[in-house]
């Protein structure tokens, strides 16, 4: 009963063939986005990824940065020396100290302030925000200069006002604290604004519904507001971890030069030191690679965390 009928030639095939542009036209159509990307990509290639690859390579050589002396391949020697030297471990630990010391400024205080002042509206809020934000605009070296002056052991305001005679920047315990406090002053305003923006973006319906069900303010904060805020908190943590040692660099370079007795030398300053003070390029490169991989892993974990936390409000 079934008669096989040859399928009619499909007109579609022809149309597709006709629509397919000739090769030169296809290229002309494909090229523009790459042309627009080219300037930025070339710059990234030359100034970020090429040097990264070279640093990786350099970490297996011994070299003193002078163009006239040849680079000597030393295998894993730089890494071995790095693991053996107590400097790196100490510097890493000081970096952790800086990060932990800055978390109150980038997370705890902004969240507390944000929660306390959420209801404040309009003009006064804008004025406060402008004031709190202003340290962010102070050039790091100018900030270092002012704080060097405020903390001056002889005539500084801090010692005169509190009646103490601590030599903040030249005593090993205090210098690190001073660096953390000054950096905290720089970044606090920024974190306050980020948290404020996140809080104002939270839908008030959840809190209202919970209040109707008889939840106290504390309960609402703990079980509704903070969880909804968590992606922002992860973001701020990521920033603190990745950037805090960067933020401290101008302060350390202009105020303490890593001292006294290396007590403010964190990893980034150590890298600078290896490169431009000890002229030990191989060692600097090895430490740099270790840092790059380490921070990459931390960032990956935090990004993964933030993606897991981000499902709350949708």
């Amino acid at each position: 009963m079934f008669v096989e009928v040859p399928a009619p030639p499909r007109p579609m095939d022809k149309a597709i063939k006709a629509a397919r542009p000739s090769l030169p036209r296809a290229i002309r159509r494909a090229v523009p986005p790459y042309l627009y990307l080219a300037p930025a990509l070339i710059l990234l290639g030359i100034w970020v990824y090429r040097p990264l690859a070279q640093t990786a390579q350099l970490s297996f050589y011994s070299w003193n940065l002078l163009p006239t002396t040849p680079m000597e391949p030393v295998g894993l020697d730089n890494y071995r020396r790095m693991m053996d030297s107590p400097e790196l471990g100490d510097a890493l630990w000081r970096t952790v100290e800086v990060i932990l010391g800055l978390l109150p400024f980038s997370i705890v205080i902004p969240v507390v302030v944000g929660l306390l002042t959420r209801r404040l509206g309009g003009r006064s809020r804008a004025v406060y925000q402008a004031l709190v934000f202003s340290p962010m605009l102070v050039a790091p070296v100018a900030g270092a200069a002012v704080w060097g002056w405020l903390l001056d052991p002889r005539g500084g305001v801090v010692n005169q006002a509190t009646g103490t005679s601590v030599n903040w920047l030249q005593e090993s315990g205090y210098a690190q604290i001073a660096i953390i406090l000054i950096t905290g002053w720089h970044v606090l305003g920024f974190a306050v604004l980020v948290v404020a923006a996140a809080l104002s973006g939270i839908n008030g319906d959840y809190a209202d519904a919970a209040a109707l069900d008889g939840a106290s303010r504390g309960q609402i904060t703990r079980w509704i507001t903070l969880p909804l805020l968590s992606p922002t908190l992860v973001f701020l943590t990521l920033m603190t971890v990745l950037l805090s040692a960067q933020w401290t660099f101008p302060l350390i370079d202009s105020l303490t030069q890593g001292g006294p007795a290396d007590s403010t030398t964190n990893v980034y300053y150590l890298l600078w030191d290896y490169g431009f003070r000890s002229y030990d390029a191989g060692m600097g490169a090895a430490a740099g690679m270790l840092l790059f991989v380490g921070f990459g892993l931390v960032a990956a974990v935090l990004v993964w965390l933030s993606e897991r936390l981000a499902f709350h409000d949708n």
Binding site: T55, V113, V146, G288
Partner: protein, 276 residues
């Protein structure tokens, strides 16, 4: 609970909020105030604790001007920050346009290449870059500071966000009119994104103005820009605080002036930019 009590509590909360923010603002602003106050005291009064710098004196400024060529520094810094901001804006705009207006192979990978630059700290790339600048003969020049920083991942990412919310119909209509993508960019996209572009320009300019690490590396032996000129007043025994505060104040002044004029835009742009 009576109506009255609720109102009282609300007012108490408002007062507390004002208190918290006032204290915080004071702590944040005091160093900046003290910076300018010290710079305006007479040299003999520098150690004074009186809150108002009275009688006023510009002695510190003239002293500072005698030690460093402040006008020259301001001009150099302005040129550096201006060139960097314009360059970053331009490369960022072109790259963001490519990401927003086309779909093309490797798009995701190339995008990750931009984001990934945040994981590469300056200190990791500084030695090879230093050597390259040396070979190009750009050490100790302003161009040596500018050229390596001409592409900012931040600019690309922010502009991409803006461009993706740009109505596609406008782009398509423009293509229909027979305009090339290049003409479309400058006659349709840019005029419609003026506010986003100017906010980003200010952020990039401020970042470049305040940049320290890169100029410190390229300009090791000179004090060609303000951030480095400041350093020459510090570090030695017996710092002369008056002139140091004067130069610091001058170094911050252009940024504060921009801030006063464009306050809301800048804050928003910085918060959106996330980093820096």
């Amino acid at each position: 609970m009576s109506e009255m009590a609720v109102g009282d509590r609300g007012r108490l909360r408002t007062v507390r909020a004002h208190g918290v923010l006032a204290v915080l603002s004071a702590i944040c602003v005091f160093p900046i105030y003290w910076l300018y106050a010290t710079s305006l005291r007479r040299p003999g009064d520098v150690y004074s604790l009186s809150p108002l710098p009275w009688p006023l004196s510009v002695q510190s400024y003239t002293d500072a001007a005698r030690q460093v060529d402040v006008v020259h520094l301001l001009f150099n810094t302005l040129a550096m920050a201006g060139l960097i901001a314009v360059g970053q804006l331009l490369t960022g705009l072109l790259a963001a346009y490519a990401f927003a207006a086309w779909n093309f192979p490797l798009k995701r990978l190339l995008y990750i290449a931009f984001v990934g630059t945040w994981l590469v700290p300056f200190q990791v790339t500084m030695l090879p870059n230093y050597v390259l600048l040396m070979q190009m003969g750009l050490l100790n020049t302003i161009m040596g500071v500018v050229v390596p920083t001409l592409c900012s991942a931040l600019g690309v990412l922010l502009l991409r966000q803006h461009l993706e919310s740009f109505p596609r119909e406008l782009l398509e209509a423009s293509a229909m009119d027979g305009r090339s993508s290049w003409t479309t960019l400058w006659t349709v996209v840019v005029p419609n994104m003026r506010s986003a572009l100017s906010a980003l320009a200010v952020v990039l300019f401020v970042n470049a103005w305040n940049e320290y690490f890169w100029p410190a590396m390229v300009m090791q032996r000179s004090n060609a820009v303000l951030q480095l000129g400041l350093r020459s007043f510090m570090g030695t025994e017996g710092t002369d605080w008056g002139p140091l505060m004067a130069v610091s104040g001058l170094a911050c002044l252009p940024v504060f002036a921009l801030y006063l004029v464009l306050q809301r835009n800048i804050v928003n742009a910085f918060v959106r930019s996330g980093l820096k």
